[in-house]
Amino acid sequence: MKLKYFCLILISLVWIISPVQAAEKQITIMTHDSFSISKPVLADFQKALGARVVILRSGDAGEALNKAILSKNNPLADIFYGVDNTFFSRALDEDIFIPYAPKVLANLAPELLMDPKHRLVPVDFGDVCLNYDIQWFKTRKIEPPKGLEDLVNPVYKGLTVVQNPATSSPGLAFLLATVSRFGEKGYIDYWKQLKTNDLLIVNGWKEAYWGHFTAASKGDRPIVVSYASSPAAEVFYAETKPDQAPTGVVIDNGSAFRQVEFAGILKNSASQDLAKKAMDFILSPRFQEDIPLQMFVFPSNTKAALPKVFTDHARITGDPARLDPELMDKHRDRWIREWTEALL
């Protein structure tokens, strides 16, 4: 019987210590699991709003958006942060956001603004591209690849690991980069050539990077699909900061796909005025300058200064792979299906 009493005590403890929520003003931001913010910025955020800011991380990007759509009549939050450009059309079609043009609109990078009604406003961006192990190529005296075309070259046979676009968001971004580069007709041929060149496909970024990439694991693949800012993270998270990042990126010749993340105010939010204020803060330099080291992506506000590790080691492509959002939404499933049939 001791066990039963022990459990009863524990249960009551849980009840007691569970936070008793006071009826204070608060605003909730629903987002994906990669979202992060630093303590001082959150404190300023709450001060600027005069309200408590609750952040609700709700699974990976696709899962979180799906939850927002499912709960649209009685939303879980006031703001949704993290619709990316591949899901952009779908989010707008579901009609879950209200238009709001934030104060700093003029400072946002104009090429990122995709919704003329400002239901979704760009908050950050990053480029998905090939990363390679610099040391690996140096010791073998092989030139690292310069673009997507190189990967089908026999020199690079058995060197690349990519993610399944059906289960991974960088994987999908990379598939879209190949569609953009080789066209709707040519991309499958390109992938078939990759397959003959002994490409390795895994399901997610974690397995690819931590399981097979030579620079990060005991794996045997020196080329991996990751972000153009990953080298900065490699430097930032090294115990003794090296002068040069151990990994390099391939971003030229339209080989990198730009992932833009958007935020918007959810339609049935109970406190829309507060939500508007919150959107202004999210796009202000204070919040935007916090983004790089929290999420390892770039701010959308051009007036936001970048940290040194970013200016030194992270890259932005001048020539990203582009696809029309409508086209992406219309054909995404078909491309994934065709890819699955041809590659798996």
Partner: protein
């Protein structure tokens, strides 16, 4: 008399798990199914084409079954001899070995993959296994060996003593006694263990995704893909339904079968086991120990080792780092706090699962004995369903149903122990039922005739006799909660992350420090689990040899 049966406290106890299931399982699920199959009030069955017309989908369903069957057979082949050694002999480090074998069960899939990779991977300590299917099977044995071992050993231990002695007295050789007495009596436990493992492998998700790569998919993995990435909710719901129907069918079959198993009186008191004496006995014990060390312990040791080696040297750098909030993130949670949250949630889940589990077990045995209806045959498999229900489907269901007071639990921390209890509860039930069924009905009836109230019967007869199994169930409920990931990720508010979520966060970013820290936190999870086991095993009633 009939009326008395329906108002008996054991019968009414069934209301507890029934209500728990109705509110936290069936209500959310029916919400998401209705939304998927009847959008805007009309029936939508378009998705059926995508299942019936697709060779890929049929392949997935087929693969789900045969990999689960193969994994279960392998696990059984490993666990049965080990259970024999554990249940029949007393030897040094027995408790420690049993404890170590149980830890893998709670490790998140990413960590298991890393552990197996460092042990059996390309540059592994022990050997090289490259085929994804072999790795999947190995991972399933690694995960589930202890489930099978604990269930069978627990039952087997209570078979010691008089029954075998009686068989020997009647002239049976040890082999005859084993095949004609022990094995038939053991059958319910073997079936219970095998079906649990089967259902686990049947709904395997993380392991298949990571170790199998994109070439292999189970129904569960496909549900996740369809729901979270392709927004194909109708198809995801349909597959969930298929999975639920299969589980129900399997469990009905099993429950009908296990009811026919023999009944006997288990001893609740102290059981003295002999040390192994003959050479074959010694080698069996040694083999068991060796198996546990190589398959269960070594991967964990190499995982712990990788958290202690930094740039080729021994270093505590990763451990120092997990106590620092380098980016000043608000989501940073000191590892000990994550351990604390994990323990609080696990204790809550354990309490709910135990109460619901004991009530359900009493209800089912009572219904079985006194009501010649199909009631028990229906509820028993029903209670097993959460084990193979996709977390993403249930999660979406909770979002659209539990969204108004008094049940607006969508963002409440209470949701975590509730969901964990839903998954831990079937273990408690499975562990309790075989023990409870073997208590002869006359015992309770005699006590009642002598004036004992049903509560008194519960306290002095039924509970002591099932104490051993109760501990086994509790260990599972607790550890499942510690390691649970799928449901936690959608239910846990960011400020109260559990250990698996902390690991997941570290693995979400590049940078060598992040990987090292993930391994360090995984090592802490292993230690915390071991601690949890030790605490629960020492809390067991009386001082009987625990399972």
């Amino acid at each position: 008399m009939k009326k008395q049966i329906y108002t008996h406290p054991y019968f009414l106890a069934g209301l507890v798990p029934a209500l728990f299931f109705l509110v936290f399982y069936f209500y959310p699920l029916s919400g998401i199914f209705l939304k998927s199959f009847f959008p805007k009030g009309e029936v939508n069955l378009l998705f059926l084409d995508q299942v019936l017309g697709s060779a890929r989908m049929m392949k997935i369903i087929w693969f789900t079954f045969w990999q689960a069957a193969l994994s279960t057979l392998l696990t059984l082949a490993c666990a049965l001899p080990a259970a024999f050694a554990m249940a029949n002999y007393e030897f040094r480090f027995k408790k420690t070995l049993r404890l170590l074998a149980s830890i893998p069960f709670v490790l998140p899939a990413v960590v298991v993959a890393a552990a197996l990779e460092s042990c059996f991977g390309r540059t592994g300590w022990i050997g090289e296994i490259r085929h994804p299917l072999a790795l999947i099977l190995l991972a399933h044995v690694f995960y589930n060996f202890s489930v099978m071992l604990r269930i069978i050993t627990g039952y087997w231990t209570s078979l010691q003593g008089e029954i075998r002695e009686a068989a020997a007295m009647l002239g049976a050789s040890p082999a005859q006694a084993f095949f004609h007495v022990t094995l038939p009596l053991l059958r319910p436990a073997i079936w219970a263990g095998a079906l649990l493992v089967f259902i686990f492998c049947f709904s395997s998700f993380g392991i298949i995704l990571i170790l199998g790569g994109p070439g292999y998919a189970t129904i569960e993995a496909e549900i996740y893909r369809q729901a979270a990435h392709l927004f194909n909710l109708p198809l995801a719901s349909f597959l969930s339904l298929v999975q639920i129907v299969f589980t129900f069918g399997l469990m009905s079959l099993y429950t009908r079968f296990s009811k026919r198993a023999a009944q006997f009186i288990p001893k609740a008191g102290e059981i003295r086991l002999k040390p192994p004496e003959r050479p074959w006995e010694k080698s069996l014990v040694a083999g068991t120990a060796l198996f546990i060390i190589i398959v269960c312990v070594m991967p964990m040791v190499s995982l712990a080792a990788s958290s202690l080696v930094h740039n080729g040297d021994f270093s505590l750098a990763y451990y120092r780092a997990i106590f620092e909030n380098t980016t000043d993130s608000v989501f940073y949670v000191p590892p000990f706090q994550a351990v604390q949250y994990s323990f609080i949630f696990a204790a809550g889940a354990l309490a709910i699962a135990l109460v619901a589990g004991v009530c359900a077990a009493l209800f089912i045995t009572h219904a079985d004995r006194h009501i010649k209806s199909r009631l028990a045959a229906f509820f028993d498999p029903l209670f097993m369903l959460p084990l193979s229900t996709s977390a993403v489907t249930l999660g979406f269901g909770i979002i659209i149903t539990l969204d108004h007071p008094p049940l607006n639990l969508r963002t409440s921390p209470f949701l975590i122990p509730l969901v964990h209890a839903l998954v831990g509860f079937p273990f408690v039930l499975r562990a309790l039922l075989p023990a409870l069924r073997t208590i002869p009905a006359q015992m309770g009836e005699a006590a009642a005739m002598l004036g004992a109230s049903p509560l008194k019967v519960l306290r002095h007869i039924d509970l002591p006799l099932m104490s051993r199994s109760l501990v086994a169930g509790a260990v599972f409920a607790f550890t499942i909660s510690l390691g649970e990931f799928g449901a936690t990720i959608f239910a846990a508010p960011p400020t109260t992350p559990t250990i698996p979520i902390a690991i997941y966060r570290f693995l979400g970013q590049p940078g060598a420090m992040n990987y090292g820290q993930a391994m360090a936190v995984s090592t802490i999870l292993m230690a915390a689990t071991a601690l949890g086991f030790i605490i629960i095993e020492n809390l067991r009633p009386g001082n009987a040899e625990g399972i």
